[in-house]
Symmetry: C2
Subunit: 296 residues, 2 copies
């Protein structure tokens, strides 16, 4: 069993991006710039955005955080997005979820200029993904594909079972893996809450992507010998023996599943870090596309 | 074994649409209007467009065909599309494929106003479909879902195997059947040219959608007893015993597969006619959305 080490790959990718940024800057270009829009005071969101900022800066990117009060109206946010769309000093931006309930997340995502939509949540980018066109792909599924690629795990002809059909992970994951290209070409089964006899599917899978959001759901009896298991879940579980009073668990019962696997992602240190890596790569892509458009 | 009779369901749908049109017209509205853009002289395209026109008129729709010479430039076609987008007397229009090779089909489809895109080929509509938002869905997969619905075939929890991942059939079909709604909720496996041991998948399927475009590919040994088989293929096969010198074959070897099935579509008389039915339904939807927007 080998760990798919998100921490190591994130470090590699950041180093590659930093090199690129230095080359561009030496040639006289400004560095890439990523902004995050943060509405309200959700604790987890603050942490995520701070982490994205730190990682961006470590790649030599310029990072901006735009903070708005919980009571900001949808119209005000849409106006801010319009400004960011038109700001030439900015290559990409994200709007951190969750948004307050009086703001439609999809309306906000669809207001983002698709060429700056580094989270890949704009519906036009979803359509491009489904058609295999050049697009911004949501960071979590993109990070998983990158992780598999870096460990030279072939997907072509493999049977991949994706558990969970969310717009930001399961659905785009199922599409990405079945696209006719070098990181796709898998036979993909998309499973979800209405799937009957899930175990029947997971037991046949060469690659399992567990993205249903239920702690330690995938057990050893559901996995065939030699499978590759990618764990997207991250849940806090109360644990009085820990200093913080909780531990983090994925969707996979790691201790019993890992021995059966050829490869498996740890939680934490797996997919979560690859999500950051992909956001950084998407920002570089937005930057490069922006300048190649300007120069063409 | 019961036939999924596209001819019967098309007739039912046309009757329903005609009733609706008559009601709208009696209330003083104009009838729905569908246009087809035809570039060049492809024989099959002429036939398809003529059939769409005839069926439209039988529903009480106004039908228009806009014919352009093979040598028409992409820019000219895009200009015509702009006119159609802005024409208030028109609810929906299609651009018949194939287009001459000097015209980018995707560029043309993406120029169509998404609210008039009754073929559902605009990338924004693809994205909306993938997110389960209200959209125009390509006519063939939509027609298949309608056919299953009219025969009260439950998809929830069923294992559906889709063979073929084209943008207009296989891919949207796999998405539609797995959406969290009343005509979806199936566990879907998307198979394609890189799938290994395809038979292993089809033998497990409750519902098989054969959309790979290879005549008589699916044989009896690939289908489990009681399966539901939907045949999207339509190929001309030379047959000197026929008056026209050919016969039409689907992707399914009908004679040997049919006895094992609970339901199966014939070719012709199955999916092809449902594709027309869906185009008509999409046109009515565009019409109703147009007037509800105007009146709101």
């Amino acid at each position: 069993m080998q760990l798919l080490d998100g921490k190591k790959i994130l470090a590699e990718i950041k180093e590659e991006l930093l090199q690129k940024v230095q080359t561009y800057v030496q040639k006289g270009s400004r560095p890439p710039c990523l902004a995050a829009v943060l509405v309200g005071n959700d604790g987890a969101s603050q942490t995520y955005v701070a982490s994205k900022e730190k990682n961006s800066e470590q790649c030599g990117f310029v990072s901006r955080i735009l903070r708005f009060d919980e009571s900001t109206t949808e119209a005000q946010i849409l106006l801010e997005i319009e400004k960011l769309n038109n700001d030439p000093s900015l290559d990409g931006f994200i709007v951190q979820s969750p948004l307050p309930s009086h703001i439609s997340a999809q309306k906000v995502f669809d207001a983002i200029d698709p060429s700056k939509d580094v989270d890949g949540f704009n519906t036009l980018n979803t359509g491009k993904l489904a058609k295999g066109m050049n697009s911004f792909v949501p960071a979590t599924p993109l990070g998983i594909v990158e992780l598999l690629k870096r460990y030279k795990i072939e997907t072509s002809g493999k049977h991949c079972v994706v558990i969970g059909r969310s717009d930001i992970v399961g659905r785009p994951m199922s599409i990405l893996l079945s696209l006719p290209n070098a990181t796709g070409n898998a036979t993909v089964t998309l499973c979800h809450s209405k799937t009957q006899n899930l175990k029947n599917f997971t037991l046949q899978a060469d690659i399992i992507i567990a993205a249903l959001g239920k702690a330690e759901f995938l057990t050893a009896d559901m996995v065939k010998e030699g499978a590759i298991v990618v764990d997207v879940g991250i849940t806090r579980i109360e644990d009085k023996t820990k200093k913080l009073g909780f531990r983090l668990a994925g969707d996979v019962k790691f201790d019993e599943v890992a021995p059966k696997c050829s490869f498996i992602t740890p939680v934490p240190g797996g997919v979560g870090l690859m999500t950051i890596a992909s956001l950084l790569q998407n920002t570089m892509k937005a930057y490069e596309q922006r300048f190649s458009t300007l120069n063409s």
